[in-house]
Symmetry: C2
Subunit: 342 residues, 2 copies
Amino acid sequence: MEKEITIYDLAKILALSPATVSRALNDHPAINAKTKVLIAEKAAELGYRSNTFASHLRTRKTNTLGVIVPRLNSNFMSTVLAGMEEVANNVGYNLLISQSLESEVKERANAKTMFNSRVDGLLVSVAYDTYSFGHFSTFISRNIPVLFFDRILTHPQCGAVIIDNEQAGYDATRHLLDQGCRRIMHVTGDLRRNVYGDRLEGFKRALAGQNLSLDNRLILSTDLSQEAGRAVAEQIDQMQEKPDGLFIANDLCAAICMQALKEKGYAIPGDVAIVGFNNDPVSQVVSPQLTTIFYPGYQMGKTAMTTMIGQLNGTRPIDHSEPIILRSELIIRRSSILLEKS
Amino acid sequence: MEKEITIYDLAKILALSPATVSRALNDHPAINAKTKVLIAEKAAELGYRSNTFASHLRTRKTNTLGVIVPRLNSNFMSTVLAGMEEVANNVGYNLLISQSLESEVKERANAKTMFNSRVDGLLVSVAYDTYSFGHFSTFISRNIPVLFFDRILTHPQCGAVIIDNEQAGYDATRHLLDQGCRRIMHVTGDLRRNVYGDRLEGFKRALAGQNLSLDNRLILSTDLSQEAGRAVAEQIDQMQEKPDGLFIANDLCAAICMQALKEKGYAIPGDVAIVGFNNDPVSQVVSPQLTTIFYPGYQMGKTAMTTMIGQLNGTRPIDHSEPIILRSELIIRRSSILLEKS
DNA sequence: GTGAAAGCGCTAACAC
DNA sequence: GTGTTAGCGCTTTCAC
């Protein structure tokens, strides 16, 4: 076990004060350039590494940001995280990542851990059943910025990065309508969650635009799991008046559902046209390929992180009155094409 | 911005010494049980939270573990991470996660950051092009345990958690042979990497078992990307002697390749039987569904983390002479079934 | 069973 | 441009 080199060791060897060494290492402008070089070389030579705890203890900054996501093992979330990590890493922030496993209880515990770890900021996409803000208010009261992304809670002091779910829901539905569908079923998640609630609004707007009335039996709130996909296919098979279009708020769920429908003998898109959501890799490999909404996960991660870091640096004006909205996009594939392009 | 409560505040209020408060909070046996209760209550009442930096500064322990993965946005890796997170979270360890983006250079930088963050241990799945051990030896020399998982580097002082890639490669190939394939192509990654090299060994052993000679033109080392999948289909289409079996070391790549082959008019599995690798969600939604190797990602994450924590606690005997090998499993689906079960 | 005191390594006033 | 000094909040001998 080698001994750790400290700034005191460097100071003694170079006949300087620890303060000078500290300043030089932090690239303080007041220090002579030559002195800096000297110190940097010696530090490298002796394998000096800054003790972040001592530093954090003084500065009360940790250079660490907490990220809480519902699940790590989802294509979308890991893509978001990848984007966040890239930005954070580039500017020297570390990421403390944990998952709520879709449980508010666990999310609360994670938030507490983050708080105790003294993260400089917190980025959160909330769990399926999170509706209270309490576990984040400790952050707010200590001036630690909290930024929500994708699945958000609305709070005057918290930023948010989302896509325009209402518009995306509208686009998806409108596309099915344009293809001639007149009886569209919408399979979605918990409607109190912004991402699902907003999509439903878009769904409704699209129907209203065609003077179609809303049939509540055609709105299914599920957990969007693979099992849900199978169950939906089963349910459709049992229905008297079957839908001719299906808008499912998750690609994997949609893919499984499509597969189950095909097995039951339904033609896709002939009998039922299908639109998914997320542009997950599965949407490209199912047949027919799945029409979906491109969800810019990587960009969302980068934007959220950039916003957070900007806020921490004070380089970016903070306006939490409006969420940051990223562009999503309808990607039309074979699962929904009923009309040839004219 | 509320003021932080420290043990000094608690000590003063309770007319005790900071030392006693510290000991009580850490459940030191020498402290009177009643005193402990008293202190705990007051701490809770005032919203005291331990300053981990001050603590770390003294104890030189961080309760933080570093994890470096090639990419966060892969289904397999995020599943592994989910498993790790669950275990770590349960015993109070935090995870500092970063991605190498398949570059040894970035991996080196990440390792340095982890080192400076004083992680108590490091878990690594190495980048595509990592062959030197140098950036990990600083950890070893400071007695910080390094554990590799999945894509490993072999080192006498580092543990490793893997699946038996050789056996998996054998199983996949043997299955194709059992289905009657006689000209099997193997599409894989960088053969110097254990996961790919070992699978190739299994591939060879299976062929040898049937007295089939090895045709090097049928071994393709690619980056296993989606583009690679398309390129392989193209290449097969151009070949004079086409393969009747295809073993691709990645499900998404395999799914894309299958799709491209289908578009070119090949029957799957009739013309070409296909086996993938990973049991990625895509393997279940392609048609025909893809035969693959189940890769226990969640379990791998849990096992790796449990091993690491055991080593840190000293509760687990450490034997790095042999890697920990998890069971993987061939999952037979329609993409490779040529013979009906007898 | 509890207290006094030193010090972990760093940074930031404040001097000069 | 560099040095002096005083902590940041905690743990841990060593006392009693």
